[in-house]
Amino acid sequence: MIRKVRSHITQNEDLIFERSSPGKIGYQLPELDVPAVDPASLLGDANVRSEIEGFPEVSEVEVVRHFTRLSTWNYAIDLGMYPLGSCTMKYNPRINEAVARLEGLAWSHPYQPESLSQGAMEVVAKLEDALCEITGLDAITLQPAAGAHGELTGILLVRALLESQGNPRKKILVPDSAHGTNPATAGIAGYAVQNVRSNDQGMIDLEELSKLVDGDVAALMVTNPNTLGVFEENIMQAAEILHSKGAMVYMDGANLNALVGVARPGDFGIDVMHINLHKTFSTPHGGGGPGGGPVAVKSHLAPFLPVPRLKRLKDAFAWDYDVPQSIGKVRAFYGNFGVLVRALAYILAHGGPGLRNATVDAVLNANYIRHQLAPYFDLPYNRPNMHEVVFSDDRQAAKGVKTGDMAKRLIDYGFHPYTVSFPLIVHGALMIEPTETESKQELDLFIDAMISIAKEIDEEPAKVISAPHSTRTTRVDEVGAARKPIVRWKP
């Protein structure tokens, strides 16, 4: 039975270009307080464009209705649980939005004098300190704009250190359970990728690893907890294997939400890692970004961090560009500062004990889901999990219903789907991450929905296969979209 939702009316809405009519405006500009100019005579005819063809002309209320109507066609955390595994879709506190918009922070220019930037620089300093404490690492850059950008920065740091020792080496090892960004990053950083097979527990296979690590290996990229939601129990031994050959261990911090206040990567052998502020530290996903991808390192990698570095003088902060071994800049200015403000507000609100509590709740929620759903769905790796749990669709696939179908049916029950078909080492994966911000009530509704879908598969599988049934838009033709791409509106 569907308990969480029932259908309601949504408004139709055209594309803005189809609403446009000549002469309508939705903006106001003040009267000029200087003489008007003629663009063509100042810039020359050839430099001045004719009108922007096809550009919209609408009123303010039309713009507000346009976006409000479109917004109602979206699912969001603000509407309910969003159990996308590996994405850490937790509640985004609104206080973070408020402080990021304070005039002095939102309107600070990156080139304004340092004497007029001390408040903004303190945000950077405080967040650097907190993240070093949380990760157990020695130094950090907040410059990378997102997780994948952090990965690139981290691998470039590894490369720079190895280069300074005379040989950048050739390969990066990437487990077969890794996120796609890991191998893509290694490629962009100029390394060949060697995949590492997981063992029958879905973990790093130490024997296999020992065979692969040689003088050509620059680093292992590892996600811990791994993408099965399980802590890599041999992580310290794995790190030793890498270190003994002069290689390093990079940790993808996508799953850091399982560790804050409980275990620190710096204590279990990690040399360098990125942190997803838009996951663990609650900055909003915003339909795909912005994120923040700080990179924390052990002291041996610190000399190579991007410029500028924040310097703590006796009574002021200063930007230091004189870092001779630095890899350079990975982004203009100092990173996604507005995202840093939000992350710091989250850390201050929680404090040390509160951050640990959040971790406990996140792990408890995921274990609760595993226990409640284990009778109904196959657990390929049946062991205690951390912040997320991965089932497979084995039992349901035998009846012709796949993970993607169940995910779509979940929409009818009022939930966003879990992550579908990832990690790749689980056939037909259902990857579920509830986060700490879901109550038992919401979790129980989700569990009920999953059990109900499992029963539907026994009784009327066609209903699941053809889902969703209650959305404005039914299943879309993705193959058609890719065959003849239409990526812009044309009159």
Partner: protein
């Protein structure tokens, strides 16, 4: 819930972590504070910034008015707290706003296709260069010295590790425009692309067509970048470029001490399969209704892994939405008026302070203060609660006597008069 999991204490949840890897004790972080205390703390920080100062800084980050409606829209939880729109049936809102974004980026730049956003221009430029390398099969990158210095620094970091040689070509000391002879001399059969910016870092408008002709004559692509998007309201779009990689910060994105911003990448239709990042396409649903979804994902990291066109995953969707709302509010007429106002303000300032370069400029220009260094000028202005321009010596030693001044629609005539007075005093 613990009992339902067969546990008696929360600590048991973490027994799978080897003891040696666990924290013993607590994080050295203070206990949490209340909402009121958080607001209070950040207000105090906000006061220790440029709050209340007028500013003539541009140099890649511009002060433009942000209409109230922009935050009204992006604060809606349905946009703010949704994930990447992989599940089309419950993400049509986000997908349509991105489709409109892609369309308007094309209309503004004169390109055929645009992606769903990049982190910012400084990272979009090296992605464009990597595209050019893939398309041409060549390796050398030629960058104009008048491209934003920080974009060039980021380009350097990216290229260094892929073994892509970078060479810079100069600007004309008289006009501030591209030194086309220098460009021509450095173009060869190894050149994958030529990267130029207009208005360039000095605010000067370039002859894009000539640069494109030179690049194309040598089989190289022209990559065009911009940092002042407001100029596109009045300037001829870079139709002769092959790839455009730019910055939309000017469209209702607050300076925010340098980010988050929204970068774009757009190109000619034939290069669509080489674009990095996410793309939204139009299709139909099973009932035949128009619908939208992410498309051409086989370019991307989650499908192609090490063979992907880029490692980018998270982009700047919410920031791109700010730009989208802004562009729809301003529309065809507003964008032109905004650009014209910027032109008028900067040229008023230019009538009081003589620009160093003779090339046409949009809303910023280089000038040499009378009888003092740019640093001394800035120091004198601070006492009048004015932040002066960017002293150029940091990036251009040959211009260490010069400052880069910017005026936008938000710059007041009285502040320009004060600046001019101090400038000449």
């Amino acid at each position: 819930m613990l009992a339902a999991c067969g546990l008696t204490s929360a600590d048991q949840l973490f027994e799978q972590i080897p003891a040696a890897a666990r924290i013993h004790g607590a994080l050295a972080l203070a206990p949490g504070i209340s909402e009121y205390e958080i607001v209070d703390y950040f207000k105090a920080l906000s006061d220790r910034t440029s709050n209340g100062y007028a500013s003539f800084l541009g140099a890649g980050v511009y002060n433009h008015y942000r209409p109230v409606v922009v935050d009204t829209v992006v604060s809606r939880g349905e946009f703010l707290t949704s994930y990447t729109p992989y599940q089309s049936e419950i993400s049509q809102g986000t997908l349509i706003t991105i489709f409109e974004f892609q369309t308007m980026v094309c209309q503004l730049t004169g390109m055929d296709v645009a992606n769903a956003s990049m982190y910012d221009a400084s990272t979009a430029v090296p992605e464009a260069a990597m595209m050019a390398v893939r398309i041409t099969g060549r390796h050398k990158i030629l960058v104009a010295k008048s491209v934003h210095p920080e974009y060039r620094q980021v380009q350097q970091t990216y290229a260094k590790n892929q073994g892509l040689p970078i060479e810079e070509f100069g600007y004309d000391a008289e006009t501030g425009q591209l030194d086309l002879a220098d460009l021509e001399a450095k173009l060869d059969k190894q050149t994958a692309c030529v990267i130029i910016q207009s208005p360039n870092f000095f605010g000067i408008i370039e002859d894009v067509r000539k640069a494109a002709e030179l690049a194309h004559a040598h089989g190289a692509l022209l990559v065009f970048t911009f940092s002042e998007a407001a100029s596109l309201g009045i300037l001829e779009p870079p139709r002769d470029a092959d790839i455009v990689a730019g910055e939309l910060q000017s469209f209702a994105i607050s300076p925010s001490y340098g980010g988050p911003f929204a970068g774009i990448i757009a190109s000619k239709e034939k290069y669509i399969r080489q674009l990095p990042g996410r793309l939204v396409g139009q299709t139909t649903d099973s009932q035949g209704n128009r619908a939208f979804c992410l498309t051409l994902a086989t370019r991307e990291q989650h499908i192609r892994r090490e063979k992907a066109t880029s490692n980018i995953c998270t982009n700047q969707a919410l920031i791109a939405l700010m730009a989208t709302v802004f562009l729809e509010l301003y529309g065809k007429q507003g964008l032109r008026e905004l650009a014209t106002q910027n032109l008028a303000k900067a040229h008023y300032l230019g009538s009081k302070i003589k620009p160093k370069f003779s090339g046409p400029y949009f809303n910023e220009f280089v000038a040499v203060p009378t009888g003092k260094s740019p640093e001394a000028l800035n120091e004198a202005l601070l006492s009048k609660k004015i932040i002066g321009g960017l002293a150029l010596g940091k990036f251009y030693p040959e211009l260490s006597d010069a400052t880069l001044l910017c005026a936008t629609e938000m710059t007041k005539r009285s502040d320009m008069d004060t600046l001019a007075e101090v400038f000449h005093s």
